[in-house]
């Protein structure tokens, strides 16, 4: 016994550590973990409770009939209103509140060129322009209507 005393002590330390781990695990692991999958089942409710930020196109169209109609007939029809105007659930719920943003004339070029800047990585059919050649320094909206851009 004297010869393996030190090994016994190590074993005790290891077993204590494992026991500590198991106790810690029992205390820390959320009780509903693993009920539905490898996550906390309660997380679903937590996520559901988060405020919704996007209202969806259908809701905009209810009040902004003109823009919705204009856009529906244009090549921008596939884009949701909020992909350009940002998340506006708060506005849709309370239109009298702070005015929603729309790209100003100053930032218009950069805004449209996010999608329309010529780049080899874009499909060849996608309409693109070269920033430095396509009417430089004039806001795109001077000529193109954002909701119906075809001239």
């Amino acid at each position: 016994m004297k010869d393996i005393e030190h090994l016994v002590r190590v074993a005790v330390i290891f077993l204590t550590a494992i026991a500590f781990f198991l106790v810690a695990r029992a205390m820390i692991k959320p009780p509903d973990y693993g009920k539905l999958g490898r996550y906390r089942a309660g997380a679903l409710d937590d996520i559901k409770a988060l405020p919704v930020k996007y209202a969806g196109q259908a809701s905009c169209a209810g009040c902004h009939k003109a823009q919705a109609k204009e856009k529906a007939g244009s090549s921008h029809r596939g884009m949701a209103c909020e992909s350009c105007h940002g998340a506006l659930a708060a506005h849709a719920a309370a239109p009298k509140g702070p005015k929603p943003s729309k790209p100003s004339e100053a930032e218009m070029r950069r805004f449209c060129l996010r999608c329309h800047e010529a780049s080899v990585s874009r499909p060849a059919k996608f309409p693109t322009v070269d920033d430095s050649k396509h009417n430089p320094d004039v806001a795109c909206s001077m000529c193109h209507k954002p909701h119906a851009p075809k001239l």
């Binding site: 004297k2 010869d3 393996i4 005393e5 030190h6 090994l7 002590r9 190590v10 330390i13 290891f14 550590a17 781990f21 810690a24 695990r25 820390i28 692991k29 973990y33 693993g34 490898r38 790209p103 930032e107 950069r110 805004f111 996010r114 800047e117 780049s119 080899v120 990585s121």
Partner: protein, 400 residues
């Protein structure tokens, strides 16, 4: 709009070529993910060198035995750090242990790591040093160290002679278990890459084996350099038979690692699957410097040539030392380049096989060059502390 994002986007878009998918614009696996297999590789390599001495009874390696173990420990302690820094939430890392996911190789790594750290490395080092620790516990001049040593004896101050015999046997058994553990630890890193089937640069069953042998090469090179450096710093003679043997193992590991890498490349070239065209462009273009020049020529062929020369001809000690030191350093750089070529190289081409992405290595920032540098230095700091506490060489008698 978020101006900074738009500016960064524009800049990056200007650097990609061909057609890439939008989600490929930003490289997700940064230099830290290069560092991670590099550090674990050094661990596995150093440990395997130690095991050779222990399991196969290679007596000449004695002077590097303890040094290899301490090196393995120092690098192992730091090895998960690049992952933690990359992912961001270190406080969550315990969750992979608390809620284990047996179908995730990544998650199971936590257990492999713990097993290897606690059950293999720490125990083995402790058993090997126990005799010294007991001695130091009452002879060391510093009270702080005496206290630490006393704790490390676990209260067994008068060990019996028989207990050391038992320690030796247990230590031996641990090494036998440790060897496959070390291989598992590093094989797993290769396994992660090798099993990403969507990426033709990674997806090959050879990957774990390639990683393993390059790990051995880097770990052995690391110990070789550390041994030479420490001898120089302590002003003692290098034991040439030991150094020669380490160099021989190093040469073996480099040759096998290099052959496997080439075998894999030749096989890819011969198969010439649809992705080979872009891989070829990658090798000739973006990876030319880091793969052909650094990994192949400087990191593999030069060491093979230099150490090979020492095997063919009887060279004076001085020349051999220089050759070993140069080869070891080149190999450490070359294997870092190899990890880079695998990790970053594998993200340089688009899944469309029609375009190249780009990686901008920032200087500061969480995943920048600076933090990578700090993380690479840390294991050496840890090693310094370990060498201070557990000198692998005979301690000078107290108050001589």
């Amino acid at each position: 709009m978020h101006d900074a994002v738009v500016v960064a986007l524009r800049e990056t878009l200007g650097k990609v070529t061909g057609f890439i998918y939008p989600n490929e614009l930003e490289l997700q696996w940064s230099i830290l993910i290069v560092l991670y297999p590099y550090l674990t590789g050094l661990v596995a390599g150093a440990f395997i060198l130690a095991s050779l001495e222990r399991v196969f009874n290679v007596k000449v390696l004695k002077p590097t035995y303890r040094l290899s173990l301490l090196t393995a420990l120092a690098f192992l302690v730091i090895a998960p750090l690049p992952l933690q820094v990359h992912l961001g939430h270190p406080e969550r890392s315990f969750n992979i242990l608390f809620t284990p996911n047996p179908t995730s190789a990544m998650a199971m790594f936590g257990f492999v790591y713990l097993w290897y750290l606690m059950a293999v490395l720490l125990l083995e080092i402790w058993l090997d040093y126990r005799k010294d620790i007991v001695g130091w516990a009452d002879s060391d001049p510093s009270w702080l160290k005496r206290l630490i040593y006393k704790v490390m004896t676990l209260g067994v101050f008068k060990p019996t002679a028989k207990s050391f015999e038992i320690d030796d046997k247990v230590g031996r058994a641990l090494t036998v278990i440790g060897l496959p553990s070390a291989i598992l630890l590093h094989g797993y890193v290769g396994f992660i890459f090798g099993s990403i089937k969507a990426n033709p640069w990674w997806s090959t069953p050879l990957m774990p084996i390639i990683f393993l042998f390059s790990a051995m090469a880097s770990g052995i090179a690391g110990v070789l350099l550390l041994y030479m450096f420490l001898c120089w710093a302590r002003d003692v003679e290098i034991e040439m038979p030991c150094l020669d043997t380490v160099a021989k193992y190093f040469l073996t590991a480099v040759i096998i690692a290099f052959s496997l890498e080439m075998l894999e490349t030749v096989q890819k070239a011969y198969e010439a699957e649809e992705h080979f065209d872009i891989l070829q462009l990658l090798i000739e273009g973006k990876l030319y410097l880091s793969l052909i020049v650094v990994q192949v020529w400087l990191g593999s062929l030069m060491p093979i040539l230099l150490v090979g020369l020492t095997q063919l001809f009887e060279l004076p000690d001085k020349v051999r030392k220089v050759f070993y030191a140069v080869s070891g350093s080149l190999s450490l750089v070359g294997i870092f380049a190899m990890r880079w070529n695998v990790v970053v190289g594998g993200q340089f081409f688009s899944k469309s096989l029609m375009g190249f992405t780009t990686y901008k290595l920032e200087l500061a920032g969480r995943e920048g060059l600076f933090s990578a540098f700090v993380i690479s230095i840390l294991p050496l700091v840890v090693l310094g502390v370990l060498l201070w506490l557990l000198p692998p060489w005979e301690k000078k008698p107290a108050k001589a």
